[in-house]
C-alpha cells in the first residue's frame, strides 16, 4: 500500500465531496494527474458528481498548479478546485 496522501477540496468541489480534506491511500497504479482524477470518479456517488466535468477541474500538487497530463510524482498534498475567481 502507498504512503497516505492529504487530499484537499475547495468551493463546489468541497461541497460535492462533502468534506474539505481527507487522507487517502492512492493505488500504486496512478502515474499522472489524469489518473488521479479518474480514480476520484470511481470512489462513489459523491465523488462521481464532484468530478463529473474533468476539463474544468484544477489540480495543485503540493500547492503548485499541475496540468492533467503531468506526472503525479510523490506529493504530500493534492488539491482539487474549480477555476479561480478571486481579485
Amino acid at each position: 500500500m502507498s504512503t497516505p496522501i492529504k487530499l484537499v477540496y475547495f468551493a463546489w468541489l468541497r461541497e460535492r465531496v462533502g468534506m474539505g480534506e481527507e487522507v487517502a491511500h492512492l493505488p500504486d497504479s496512478l502515474s499522472t494527474v489524469a489518473d488521479v482524477l479518474a480514480w476520484q470518479q470511481s470512489r462513489g456517488e459523491a465523488y462521481a458528481h464532484a468530478f463529473e466535468h474533468l476539463p474544468i477541474i484544477r489540480v495543485a500538487l503540493d500547492q503548485t498548479h499541475a496540468h492533467h497530463d503531468e506526472p503525479l510524482g510523490t506529493p504530500a498534498e493534492i488539491a482539487f478546485f474549480p477555476p479561480m475567481t478571486g481579485g
Binding site: 475547495f10 479561480m84 475567481t85 478571486g86 481579485g87
Partner: protein, 152 residues
C-alpha cells in the same frame, strides 16, 4: 530586486497607509499606481460574498505574480493584500500598490499582478442573494484568461 509585501487576511486594509509605507522617507519614487477591487451589490440583489481561499497557496501564488512583476519592471515597492471571509457590497476585497521612478513601470506592475491574481490565485467567490435563493459560486470569466494572456 524589490521584495514585495503580500498579505492574505480577513481584516480590511488601508491603501493610504500601505502607500505611505512605500513612499515615506525616500525621494526616488516618482510614480504610485494602485488598484482596489470592491464587492459590488449586483443591482442590490447581493447580500454578501463569501471568499474561500487555499491558505498557503494563495499567499504563494500572489507572491509568484508579484516577484515576476518586480523582475520585469523597475519597481521600487509593491504591496498586495487580498481578503477572505464574508464581505458585503462596498467592502474592499483586494488592493495592489506599485511604486517606481516612472509611471509606466508602476502602472504595468499593478495591472500585471491583478491580471495574474485573477486567474492563478486560489480564491473562490460564493454569492449569497438577498431574495433567499440558494447561494451560487461565481463562474470564472473568459475575459480574465484573455487579460492574463496579454502579458505572455
Amino acid at each position: 530586486m524589490t521584495t514585495p509585501t503580500i498579505r492574505v487576511q480577513a481584516e480590511d486594509f488601508d491603501l493610504a497607509a500601505e502607500t505611505k509605507i512605500l513612499t515615506q522617507g525616500r525621494h526616488d519614487v516618482g510614480a504610485v499606481a494602485s488598484f482596489i477591487g470592491l464587492c459590488r451589490g449586483e443591482g442590490d440583489t447581493l447580500n454578501a460574498l463569501e471568499l474561500e481561499h487555499y491558505p498557503g497557496m494563495a499567499q504563494k501564488q500572489i507572491g509568484t505574480a508579484a516577484n515576476a512583476a518586480c523582475a520585469r519592471w523597475p519597481v521600487d515597492g509593491l504591496t498586495v493584500i487580498h481578503r477572505y471571509g464574508k464581505l458585503y457590497p462596498g467592502d474592499q476585497i483586494v488592493m495592489v500598490v506599485a511604486t517606481s521612478r516612472h509611471r509606466d513601470a508602476a502602472f504595468d506592475a499593478a495591472r500585471f499582478v491583478m491580471d495574474y491574481l485573477k486567474t492563478d490565485a486560489p480564491f473562490w467567490k460564493k454569492e449569497h442573494r438577498k431574495d433567499g435563493q440558494e447561494a451560487n459560486w461565481v463562474d470564472a470569466r473568459d475575459s480574465d484568461d484573455a487579460a492574463r494572456k496579454r502579458w505572455e
